[in-house]
């Protein structure tokens, strides 16, 4: 270990001296990314701060990172608002877990054969997937597919099935398989008597954990943040997910204050919708699990991002 470790580290050292960034550039680059991070993190902190602000305070003084009067009332509202929010939360979690697993499976099962040189029709199937990225059927036919051809409207499946296959993720995965799995590994497995399925599940997939984690994270985020499918297909309010619930509230408020809704009752309705801080509390709760999921994926994530780059 020691013997082989030394020269490599020496090589790296030498290289890094040659490529060292000048201190000025270093500071500038760091500064740039500090600014980027602040721009990303500040709004989230602000939302959290608002959700803990006293409602009256909010109306009088507006938003502030350090409210002069704290209050837990918004969370009290969210928790006691009945089971609507918790049920929606449950739906979101279920859809995300189930969706991610199924979607990963479908994507991998499509991508893996395309990565194999020995698969005869791989060009056609690549094109078939690629085609869907450029051309779509339009919204009404798409809607009819899930309401009439496959009647899954108003079920949990309608929030999963439309996103199962994603051509773009499939292509990333295919490239990943191609670059990580050398043909000779498969050959040697074959010689040892493994069948195609065994090779795929026991040898190929474990070697591709970084790629799986990357695509898995994309899928998780996609499913968790989705409100579009419930908007289109869910009419049963027991199946609303958390993002849709939030979309519904925010959208209603935005519409009612926009002034285009000047029917005589709009002001009365507005007064009945959740208060500013309560909305922020819902937002804070809805980012919860994703924030925890991220570090879990992260160790694979960086590796996954570099796929396709030339590796030394």
């Amino acid at each position: 270990m020691d013997n082989s470790g030394m020269p490599i580290s020496r090589i790296f050292k030498k290289k890094s001296i040659g490529n060292r960034i000048s201190p000025v550039n270093n500071i500038l680059i760091n500064l740039f990314f500090v600014v980027c991070s602040v721009v990303c993190i500040a709004p989230i902190l602000l939302i959290i701060a608002i959700s803990f602000t006293d409602e009256k305070e909010l109306l009088v003084n507006g938003y502030s990172f350090f409210p002069s009067k704290y209050s837990l009332k918004a969370y009290d509202y969210v928790i006691t608002a009945g089971d609507t929010i918790w049920r929606a939360y449950g739906v979101s979690i279920l859809v995300t877990l189930l969706g991610t697993v199924l979607s990963l499976m479908v994507i991998c099962l499509y991508a893996y054969p395309l990565s194999r040189q020995s698969f005869k029709y791989r060009n056609f199937f690549s094109f078939f997937a690629y085609f869907t990225m450029i051309f779509g059927g339009g919204i009404v036919p798409w809607y009819m597919v899930y309401t009439q051809l496959i009647p899954i409207k108003n079920t949990i499946w309608v929030m999963i099935v439309p996103y199962l296959m994603n051509a773009w993720y499939m292509m990333i995965m295919r490239t990943f398989f191609k670059t990580t799995i050398h043909e000779s590994i498969i050959e040697s497995a074959k010689i040892d008597g493994a069948g195609e399925f065994r090779i795929f599940f026991v040898i190929v997939l474990p070697l591709c954990r970084a790629g799986l984690a990357t695509i898995g994270l994309f899928c998780t985020l996609g499913y968790w943040n989705d409100w579009w499918l419930p908007l289109m297909f869910i009419t049963e309010y027991r199946l609303y997910n958390i993002q849709y619930l939030m979309y519904q509230t925010l959208n209603s408020i935005q519409y009612l204050v926009s002034g285009s809704a000047q029917f005589s009752e709009s002001s009365k309705i507005l007064a009945e919708l959740p208060s500013e801080s309560a909305r922020m509390a819902i937002a804070v709760i809805s980012i919860g699990p994703i924030v925890f999921a991220y570090p879990f994926f992260q160790k694979y994530f960086v590796k996954g991002l570099t796929i396709g780059a030339v590796k030394g």
Partner: protein, 508 residues
């Protein structure tokens, strides 16, 4: 080379196969739908033995109330004997959500039986013109109850080219504009509100002055987006709020003008500029969003609002601050009201007649109307008088959707204990006072001028806030505003409006 050709031929074969499968699928299903409809129609002439018909109903609202299943179960028990129907009610959020859901379902031909529609939700005119709604004139002749309740005038106002595609709610049929003033401050400074009732806008100025001088914490006027004193001019708009083109609201002539740069509007901008300079308007008013939220904060004295009898009590209840209302404009009956809340029967409905009969019950049956509006007696509300009720658990009610004005005959609704017991009588009187505008029933068809409308909207959106809140010098801004509107094609837009309006008038 051969490989590529083989792939291509394979692709073509698959394509063919898919087409065959798809046509094979759609073929039987459409014809199946057709036979179903006819069997449903012929079944209707027979009586009760057939299974109950399910009616699907889409409504707009805050949310689906948690106790909806309970209320529907109760309603279904009642409807079973009456019409032999069961009800399936869905409520979707305001704005985009409702539009998206309903418009897609209508376009896909889903068999929904009743939808809520209006000039601001699941656009009534557009959907009717696209042929998604069933024409109801036949039913209205056959079952005259609704016609008698609504009156010919109002019903005709919601018709498109003489054809009714929707049934408007029987509620306030006119509107007017005025001020809501803080009651405690009005009393503290002994203001005579009668002195500004039905007077020009500037009559309120002495009040504002008093507040400005004596209450440093309070901003005299509350303005947010379109909720501004500009509305007190009550232009009879031809299209949306932010589209130029309107008539004077007093039937003085038939000429459509660009009301954003009309002399009256410019006078108002000048007045606002003056008020802003005197500090009556919040310096950041141009960027404020939600008038009701602002009113709740207790830092404002006056707000311009659309009024009706009992509006002050309603707003006091919802903002937690006592208000008193002062009318400024005279009540008028315009298209805003006639197409403000309607129920329509989509063309794809398999039981349009049953749906119509159900809608009729909403106009004639007091029990059903109140059940859908307030829930079940002694579960969600209790009666404390003949026509007066109280919610059992107002803060955490399982069913309090506020549906009253969305369908049927609102005058059949119970009144809440905090409402004026004379509310419905006052409404009826209010309705009678209203001036019927010449443009009532005229529907502007946007198709020829879509581009002009959207570019004009952009211009209006860029200018109106500054002008409405007095944030900028009026003269140069209006000049620039008018110039940009011209470039955006406002003249063609107004000409098109005028042409359609004249045509409509001549055909009447």
């Amino acid at each position: 080379m051969t490989g590529r050709r083989r792939i291509f031929s394979f692709f073509v074969t698959v394509l063919l196969m898919v087409t065959i499968i798809l046509t094979g699928c759609s073929g039987p299903s459409t014809s199946g739908g057709g036979t179903e409809t006819t069997s449903g129609d012929s079944g209707k002439t027979q009586t009760t033995e057939e299974p109950a018909v399910k009616l699907t109903w889409y409504l707009v609202g805050n949310r689906q109330e948690p106790d909806t299943p309970k209320v529907l179960a109760e309603a279904n028990k009642y409807l079973k004997d009456k019409l032999n129907v069961t009800l399936d009610l869905y409520v979707f959020g305001w704005g985009d959500e409702y539009d998206q859901k309903v418009n897609t379902a209508l376009a896909a031909g889903e068999p929904i039986d009743i939808v809520f529609t209006a000039n601001w939700a699941a656009n009534y005119n557009v959907n009717a013109a696209s042929g998604y709604f069933t024409e109801l004139n036949g039913f209205l002749e056959k079952y005259p109850a609704i016609k008698q309740i609504l009156g010919e005038d109002f019903l005709n106002g919601s018709a498109i080219n003489g054809k009714n595609y929707g049934l408007p709610t029987n509620k306030e049929k006119v509107h007017n504009w005025g001020w809501l003033l803080r009651k405690d401050l009005v009393e503290k400074y002994n203001m005579d509100i009668e002195s500004i009732r039905y007077k020009p806008i500037e009559a309120i100025e002495p009040f504002l002055k008093t507040i400005k001088e004596n209450e440093p914490e309070i901003t005299p006027i509350c303005i947010a987006t379109m909720d501004a004193p500009f509305q007190l001019l009550d232009w009879d708009r031809i299209s949306d709020d932010d589209v130029p083109g309107a008539l004077y609201p007093d039937n003085r002539d038939y000429t459509i003008i660009n009301h954003f740069v009309a002399p009256e509007s410019i006078n108002l901008y000048n007045l606002m500029r003056d008020w802003a300079n005197k500090g009556y308007i919040h310096p950041d008013a141009a960027t404020m969003q939600n008038q009701v939220e602002l009113m709740k904060s207790g830092k404002y004295f006056a707000a311009s609002q659309s009024l009706k009898p009992g509006k002050d009590a309603e707003m006091s209840a919802s903002t937690g601050i006592e208000w008193v209302q002062v009318d400024v404009t005279r009540p008028v009956m315009s298209n805003r009201e006639t197409t403000g809340a309607l129920l329509a029967i989509p063309r794809a409905s398999k039981n349009p007649e049953k749906a119509f009969l159900f809608i009729e019950l909403l106009y004639t049956d007091k029990y059903l109307k109140n059940l859908l509006n307030y829930g079940i007696e002694n579960v969600h509300y209790k009666k404390i008088g003949d026509n007066v009720i109280e919610l059992i658990d107002p803060a955490n009610s399982g069913y309090n959707p506020g549906h009253g004005w969305k369908f049927g005959d609102q005058f059949k609704d119970y009144l809440m204990s905090n409402e004026d017991p004379q509310k419905w009588e006052k409404f009826l009187k209010f309705n009678e006072e209203g001036l019927v505008l010449n443009s009532l029933g005229f529907v502007f068809d946007k198709t020829n001028v879509e581009t002009q409308i959207s570019s004009c909207k952009n211009v209006v959106q860029a200018y109106y806030k500054q002008l409405f809140t007095g944030a900028v010098e009026v003269e140069p801004t209006v000049e620039q505003f008018a110039k940009e509107l011209k470039a955006a094609g406002v003249d063609e837009l107004i000409a098109e409006m005028q042409r359609q309006y004249d045509e409509w008038r001549n055909s009447k």
